[in-house]
Amino acid sequence: MRLLLLLVVLAGCASSPRVPPPGPGEIVSASDAQTGLLIGRSTKADVRAALGKATEIPFDSGYEVWVYRQQLREKEKPPRKELVLLFTPSGILSKSRLR
């Protein structure tokens, strides 16, 4: 019984992802994240609720650029994919790009 339990635990370890959960400004999939955004409609609050906190770059003009980076998967090498968002001074998403 103990041996069976040990095997189950080891099997679980082997199959569990080694990539930690996304940190601040990180997302699991930049493409999926972009798909869920609506240009001209999504607000900062919408995006923060969906993707978490970004690296935010505010400008004097009121525009803001937000940056999310795709989490590196195991054995994946940089550069990481980046999702860049532009918010108008009124807080509405006006542009996005993947790189």
């Binding site: 690296t55 770059i57 400008f59 525009y63 790189r99």
Partner: protein, 268 residues
């Protein structure tokens, strides 16, 4: 890597002041008779002439382009209307014609060289910054030519145009600034260029090859530097942050005729 890029950017922004500050600063001679602003945002004429000489030596990067210099706002309070520019020596002061876009051609003046003159706008230190302005004819609107930018960097570094003010001076900075124009030959130097308007995206295009720059090459690498806001007052990009970009000047796989295309924040 994240920290490395951020620190590099900040390092360049903060330190370039020291190495690029005119060596032959005006105002040290008690015999100066010309009256004007105290602590003006001036530049050394000798260093600007040295930059112009380097332009001639390296103009293969932009064979058809003339050399101009440009004044840019440095902080939010700076008003760019009504700027007047003078060449100021020990025994003379002569106006330099400033175009409506705040560009000018550096006059050749043996007396100014001899007297270690200053190029002096009627603005105080810290209110404006300077750049070389080199534009080849035929470049489409909304684009720059990489060879022009390479040459702007060479001239800018040689002329001491960048007006950053360091909070402190560290000895290890000296090595970097000893590079001078050679800094522009690094694959990805953090030499700040300013787009015409707040920039959203920058793409390099050479024939069929296209590359969108990382957001880390825009906005003075703010995306990599959480402390940028703290050092921003010391950067001559302070009020132009949303127009700022770096390009891979020293990466020779991109030819001089590479076009740098801009997409602006307010483009529809």
């Amino acid at each position: 890597m994240t920290l490395k890029i951020g620190v590099r950017a900040r390092f360049f922004l903060v330190l370039s002041y020291w190495a690029l500050t005119p060596i032959f600063a005006f105002g040290q001679d008690a015999s100066v008779r010309v009256e004007g602003l105290r602590d003006p945002v001036d530049k050394s004429y000798r260093r600007m002439v040295a930059g112009a000489k380097l332009f001639e030596e390296r103009r293969a990067h932009a064979p058809q382009a003339p050399l101009r210099f440009k004044l840019l706002p440095r902080n939010r309070a700076t008003k760019m209307d009504g700027v007047e520019l003078d060449l100021v020596g020990d025994s003379f002061q002569e106006p330099i014609e400033l175009a409506p876009d705040n560009t000018f051609v550096l006059p050749r003046d043996a007396r100014a060289l001899k007297e270690n003159a200053s190029v002096r706008p009627n603005r105080r230190s810290g209110t404006m910054t300077w750049r070389a302005e080199i534009r080849s004819p035929g470049v489409p609107p909304g684009a720059r030519r990489l060879g022009d930018l390479r040459l702007e960097c060479y001239v800018g570094m040689e002329s001491g145009l960048i007006s950053n003010r360091p909070p402190s001076l560290l000895g290890w900075m000296l090595d970097v600034f000893a590079e001078g124009p050679a800094y522009c030959d690094r694959p990805e130097p953090n030499y700040l260029f300013f787009a015409e308007r707040p920039v959203w995206n920058v793409t390099l295009v050479a024939g069929a090859r296209r590359e969108v720059l990382s957001v880390d090459r825009l906005y003075a690498a703010a995306s990599r530097d959480r402390n940028l806001r703290e050092v921003l007052p010391y950067c001559d990009c302070e009020v132009l942050l949303d127009r700022t970009y770096f390009v891979p000047l020293g990466d020779r796989s991109w030819p001089d005729d590479t076009l740098v295309h801009f997409e602006y924040m307010d483009d529809r």
